[in-house]
């Protein structure tokens, strides 16, 4: 699974893991029923304390994103289309926090900031198509 952590980023590692799992679910990279790596193997792979991984997994389970069945690996829970939409919007909001702060610090008008976002979106989708 594509999870990368940067322990020096100032964002707790358990949160980095949670954010990436949720992002992969929202983007469809992780599908309902997909199994997550066991705590100890992900912990060894990323070189982080296993308790950090189990904390991330437990919180994702509490949030209803992952499902634990006795004696089986943790799997991605099936989200209904409405939940999935909410999840996508949540992920986008989370990744825009820094951009919003920058717009405020730069003193840009809201309209101006929105126009830049629109332009970037258009450029990116044109590139995707070509």
């Amino acid at each position: 699974m594509l999870i990368v952590v940067d322990p020096s980023s100032g964002v707790p590692v358990f949160r980095q893991v949670m954010d990436q799992v949720r992002f992969h679910i929202a983007s469809g990279l992780l599908q309902p029923g997909d199994e997550l790596p066991a705590t100890r193997s992900l912990s060894a792979e990323l070189g982080v304390n296993p308790m950090t991984i189990s904390k991330a997994y437990n919180l994702l389970e509490r949030d209803g994103v992952l499902e634990r069945r006795p004696g089986r690996p943790l799997v991605v829970r099936e989200l209904d289309p409405e939940e999935l939409e909410v999840e996508k919007i949540d992920r986008l909001r989370a990744s825009l926090t820094d951009a919003v702060r920058a717009a405020l610090q730069l003193g840009l008008e809201n309209d101006e900031a929105l126009r830049v976002y629109g332009e970037l979106l258009e450029e990116a989708s044109e590139e995707e198509q070509s």
Binding site: P7, S8, G10, V11, F14, A44, G47, V48, N49, P50
Partner: protein, 297 residues
């Protein structure tokens, strides 16, 4: 029961110059504590006192509920220790050093020893004096781990190792954590290693414990505020706030570390100092360490 309980530890090597001045440290089973502090902050002294290699001048130490000076054998049987300055007998070969340790511990795990020896790929007949620094440290780690200690004390274990050797060392410690549930106390100047491995961080500063928090608290409930210099006396006013851990005067601004999340820190600075254009943010351990160790309190 706590694995380690140290209360009110005092130690100086020179009259009137305390290295440790009333230090408390307790560790619950399975905890991984990263011990931070500048060179000379007393990290090694604290670890040596914990394991009974050094006497404290005041205070009490209990390790598995035992006194490390009264029951040294029982304590050492259940502890693993690796330090940057560890000296293995130079004239022995790797096999002989491992055999020496194997003979000392009834709980020695042969399978684990074989597995680590294979992973480290160090020839059994190589003499210790011919090993690289990284290989010698790996032999020391093997010897410290294979009796499956309940407490692992690592004093700057990654000092002098290259990035790959450090990562392998880290992975081996993680394996001990997963398989044995070992409690770990380690000191390190590699703060990204601390962020990977530690569940809790204890920082020694000016002979005392300045910070003792979970790593997640440090990332989310501590912040660095960049406060513009004017008016005069800003840094003193910041230092007077009980939530402020230290300030560092820079040319552009005063940097202050707060025991508060960024929003609360900014709100406090605005309310108490009337400064509304401070910028507060969370930070990684390295930045936090530099601001505290290089600042004034």
């Amino acid at each position: 029961m706590n694995v380690l309980e140290m209360y009110d530890i005092h130690r100086s090597f020179e009259a009137g110059v305390p290295v440790l001045d009333g230090v408390d440290l307790t560790m619950a089973p399975g905890e991984v504590v990263g011990l931070l502090g500048r060179n000379g902050a007393g990290k090694t002294t604290l670890i040596h006192i914990a394991i009974g290699m050094l006497h404290q001048q005041r205070g009490t130490v209990k390790i598995f509920g035992l006194d490390p000076h009264r029951q040294p054998v029982e304590v050492k049987r259940r502890v693993g220790f690796v330090s940057e300055n560890q000296i293995l007998p130079a004239f022995l070969n790797v096999h002989e050093v491992v055999e020496l340790h194997r003979g000392l511990f009834s709980s020695w795990d042969d399978e684990m020893a074989r597995e680590l020896a294979t992973r480290f790929a160090i020839p059994a007949n190589a003499r210790i004096k011919t090993l690289s620094k990284g290989q010698a440290r790996q032999v020391a780690l093997l010897c410290a781990l294979c009796h499956r200690p309940e407490l692992l004390l690592l004093d700057e274990p990654a000092g002098g190792l290259d990035a790959l050797a450090r990562r392998e060392f880290l992975e081996t410690a993680i394996q001990a954590l997963v398989e044995t549930g070992t409690t770990i106390l380690f000191s390190s100047h590699y703060l990204s290693d601390v962020e990977r491995l530690a569940s809790r961080v204890v920082m020694l500063h000016e002979s005392k414990v300045l910070i003792d928090n979970s790593i997640d608290e440090l990332h989310e409930s501590f912040s660095i505020a960049l406060v513009p210099h004017r008016p005069q006396g800003t840094s003193d006013a910041l230092l007077a706030l009980p939530e402020c851990l230290g300030v560092r005067r820079r040319t552009d601004a005063v940097h202050a570390v707060f025991r508060l999340d960024p929003d609360d820190a900014c709100a406090l600075i605005a309310a108490r100092l009337g400064i509304t254009d401070a910028r507060c943010r969370t930070a990684g351990l390295e930045e936090m360490f530099i601001e505290i160790a290089g600042g004034e309190r």
